[in-house]
């Protein structure tokens, strides 16, 4: 389907959706279980995506730390994904950024925990063996 290129709607009339429907359709169709989509569903999904982008941006900005600096940063978004239940599904693609040093420390702590568990397991085994 040929879509009117966005930005060409300068002839006064506000277009219903500004995201390209053809692209939205490609993304929808990339889901293997979907067989077909009617035009209304396509338009609604495109519109919903716009609302979603607005909502994600305003939510992250309002709850974010960049408000004083009048800036929206990646961290504001990943915090939103982490803190808000509705944005939870984004947690995987918006992972929290942490310093490598912090990460290493976390890994170490985790290893230690695991080791403790392993130790317990081993001691059980030992007991069983003896």
């Amino acid at each position: 389907m040929a879509e009117v290129v966005v930005g060409r709607d300068k002839c006064g009339e506000q277009r219903l959706v500004s995201l390209p429907l053809s692209r939205i359709r490609v993304i929808m169709k990339s889901s293997p279980e979907v067989s077909s989509i009617n035009q209304e569903a396509l338009v609604l999904t495109a519109k919903a995506t716009e609302l979603f982008v607005q909502h994600l941006a305003t939510y992250s900005y309002r709850h974010g730390r960049g408000k004083e600096a009048k800036a929206l940063t990646y961290n504001d978004l990943s915090s939103a994904a982490e803190e808000s239940e509705t944005f939870q599904f984004l947690a995987d693609i918006l992972p929290k950024k942490i310093l490598a040093s912090k990460y290493l420390k976390m890994l170490k702590e985790k290893d230690e925990e695991d080791e403790e568990k392993d130790d317990d397991g081993e001691s059980d085994d030992d007991e069983a063996e003896s």
Partner: protein, 147 residues
């Protein structure tokens, strides 16, 4: 069909414009934040599609329709979108009814760069069947897919 991974991205310029419109004037949006929102939007589309598809399957329908998408929004806890979406749907239906002529004209101009008056007449006749159109479209959609 999506042949390249970037086919699953939404155009950055449009995403940026939508973000800018939503935020107060003068807010700086980092490049990283833009691309993150863009990715999030693609994931949102997939998530919504998958939810909507579940509703279609429950209804034993092959084709996703507007009500499936609305149900999906509820399921995804985006109830706040439902009212604006319903409004958009009504506007879309009105647009289809009223401006069909114009949009068909545009589409036709794109499809083939000819616009003879004869074709206009046949299009006009099509307009009389506007009420049946929505259902027809559903079928057409299926046909498109099968091809």
């Amino acid at each position: 069909m999506a042949e390249r991974p970037e086919d699953l991205n939404l155009p950055n310029a449009v995403i940026t414009r939508i973000i800018k419109e939503a935020l107060p004037d003068g807010v700086n949006i980092s490049k990283e934040a833009r691309s993150a929102i863009s990715r999030a939007a693609s994931v949102f589309v997939l998530y919504a599609t998958s939810c909507a598809n579940n509703f279609a399957m429950k209804g034993k329908r092959k084709t996703l329709n507007a009500s499936d998408v609305l149900s999906a929004m509820e399921e995804m806890e985006f109830q706040r979108f439902i009212t604006p979406l319903k409004e958009a749907l009504e506007a879309y239906r009105r647009e289809q009814k009223g401006k069909k002529e114009a949009s068909e004209q545009k589409k036709k101009d794109k499809d083939r760069k000819t616009d003879s008056e004869e074709q206009d007449k046949t299009r006009d006749e099509d307009n009389d069947e506007d009420e049946e159109r929505l259902e027809e479209e559903e079928q057409n959609e299926e046909e498109e897919v099968d091809n």
